[in-house]
Amino acid sequence: MKDTFRGGVHPKQNKDPQRVSPLRVYDAKGEMVFPLSQHIGKPAKPVVAKNDEVLVGQLLAEADGFVSATVVSSCSGKVKAIEKRRTISGAMLECVVVENDGEYRKLDGFGERKDYSALTRDEIIGRIKAAGIVGLGGAGFPTHVKLMPKDPGAIKYIIANGAECEPYITCNDRLMREKPEDIVEGLRIILSLFPNAEGVIAIENNKPEAIEAMKKASSGEERIRVLPLKTKYPQGGERSLIKVIAGVDFPITALPADVGCIVDNVGTIYAVQRAVAFREPLFTHALTVCGDAVKEPANLIVRDGTSVSELIDACGGLKEGVSLKKAIAGGPMMGFAMSSLDVPVVKTTNAVTLLCEDGSEKAELEMTACLHCGRCTTVCPQGLLPQLMADAVYIGDLERYEKKLYGLECIACGSCTYICPAKRPLTQTFKQTKAEIMALKRAAGGKK
């Protein structure tokens, strides 16, 4: 079997400083902020009111509708406010603010391992839903929805995504090295929902220890295998993994389940294990604090709602004598730049990357006209023609962009922008154009 997809780029890994740092639990001290929308879908509906006392693991907001996820408190204390706050994406969103008393008093009913072998399919999915688990790889799609495809029997592969192809980020690497049995158990739980599926743990070959640990933990498991992959971005993209494992390319309008695949981040699978075996809701997750501006890059187990600036302090703070240019929630390829560090970590925040040098800023200075060198075409994992797409946008021909060049198939992985020697902002243009086309479509649909 091939160990990679077509296209892709090789950004500098920058993983070494934090690879060696074991996962360390960090308990926050300040106030905790819980946005009601930490997932794709409808925001959750708050079930607490101001001045209510809450405990660790207590429901703060319940899922509103099918595609939605619950929000759970990660600390104990008093609800200070339910108001709009700046969030990590920069948007002002409705949040539940809890004054953390620092005691971390726990709600009863979770934390102890109980036998779950007798649970039915619906009960397992119910526990995952109640735990508020969403895709921790970054997209934040509610996991219980993903695990309910139309035909569970048609699912051929459950892919545990441990590729971690973003530069800098190492928290999944550490998670796989430190909790391999738990991840395998989580994968086994998911596999129990899909009778015809095989579990594939996909890991880039720059993580030999993780591959070894997962192989050891899954030895003897008939339905699970570990698949080392070539180190190449975006190897951890859903589509790249499906291409390698199932050999299928599918249009953006189709879901992985349509081609018999379900892809879950190893962090998500670990959360599933905690939810099903321990009835523990999702309120902590692994996160990497990294970048050349931070003193002690580290992998942490953080509580949702913790302020980003507090996490930086927990890692020794910023280096002296350097100025922080850019703070990224996530990695440098797909993460988004933060405007402020006083924002809370949410479920999908897998890294905080702090950089002294902003590649985008430098790129702007070096930008020239498009050379038509074709490097973007070579690296596009979707097989698109970014240079022609950019031309189409430039002349305002959205029809050509969408119909002839399949511009909406762009997955915004950033490979074309990364590789462009003329430093054109390709991905950025495509994201914006996609939003424009979708808005136009909605407007046209509304008129009818």
């Binding site: 050999g247 390319d249 988004f336 430098k362 050379l371 074709g374 023609l385 922008t417 590789i419 950025q428």
Partner: protein, 518 residues
Amino acid sequence: MNTALNISPAPHTRDKWTTRFIMGVVALALLPTAVIGVIVNGLHALYIILASVLTAVATEFLFDKVCHKPNTFLDGSAVVTGLMLALTLSPSAPLYIPILGSVFAILVVKCFFGGLGKNFVNPALAARCFLLISFGRTMTLFQVDGVTTATPMSDLMAGRAVNVTEMFLGTANGVIGGSALALLVGGLVLWAMDIIHGEICFSVIGGFTLLIGLFGGQGFDPRFLAANLCGGGVIMGAFFMATDYVTSPVSRLGQLIYGLLIGVLGALFRICGTAADSFSYSIIIGNLFVPLIDTYIIPKPFAYRKGADAREKKSFRIPKPVIAIVLITLIAGAALSGVFALTKDTIEEQKLAANTKSYQEVCPEAVSFEASSSGKEAIDALDGGVYGSGFGRVYINSAVVGKDASGNIVGYVISVTSADGNDGNITLSVGISADGTVNGIAFTELNETPGMGMRCGEPEFMSQFAGKNISSFTLVKSGASADGEVDAISGATVTSTAVVNAVNAGVDFYLKTLKGGN
């Protein structure tokens, strides 16, 4: 610590390669060629290169300045354009040629169309064509030590013998960037670095070679193909000109078609045309097809291509028209090769008969002729190169030993070709008896001007060589008196000189190689 942070959409990191880096590598890849060009052709070649590059950069700088545009002259593309143009010029061109050419390339072809990435034909080539049209004589004038001389390319176009080794190394007379070896090395480095697309350069060379082989008239003779590939800017065109990003198609299939088109056109112009620089035109024409190719050949994303879904049985079939075309090409090729092979024998036989007849003419005592082994060795050692010095461009074709009925050596016959004839090659046989006396000469190839050069074939002229036992003949205008002096045919000095040189070469070859041996 909450100072202003940069906000911009992902990705936040970039690859190291910049436009300037790529242009720099391309310029570096051309550097060996330029260096060899300067070493072979002298300092004036360096001045041409400098004039071309500096003018190109200055033109872009001034245009941007005058038009109040952000200055782009430092991105390196003007340097590459200037360098490429200079390498396609004659080393004896006056300096206004590169200067005018660079201004045309940068100003008219590039800047007027919107600058980098907007030109629709290769600026350096367009400028070259502009110069060829405007200064035809100056552009095609190739001088060595102040004397206008034929280039290997013009010889090749005229069907004369050429020295492939010289062409390959770049020491032959021709443009500054004439070293096929250096160009090939630079081009392959660019290809290995993924800076140029293999789809283009190899399809150009493939298409060109195939067509030259099929219809060039000499089959797939490696020497002939190599001579065609090494000359006339084919390597330069394939690796550096046709691969120009802006003026080549986007898709791989498009690039293949584009490359084949250029290769095929180049070969057609070479076979049917008369201009030695026709490869420039074929690339320009290829450039003009690019928008059309890019309109019709747009590859679909992976998900929409056939076989995207691996669960379906893969049943990829080569489309029938493709098979048909391939078969037709193969059959036509085989047929042509067959015809060539058949006629080749006949041609050879006829040549052999003509040769034997001429042998007997100049070595009447012999009843049989066989190849001289020492002569063959010496001829092989020449590797098709010019024989000796002081004879002009003469080539030794063969040397045979004449024997009488009892097997005794009675004489030698050397077949010599001179490429210095007025109208093509002159080939003659020099007969020398065992004691070193020239028996006489006989022409096997003489296509000179009737009434003038052709009169060299008359007995009056030819008999002047017979019965002389000397090491060298001297040509005099008239009134030959001393031994070894030969009267020139009046009005045909070129032909007479070529004949005397050829005879002298034959005698020299006899004295140095054949004498006494077998």
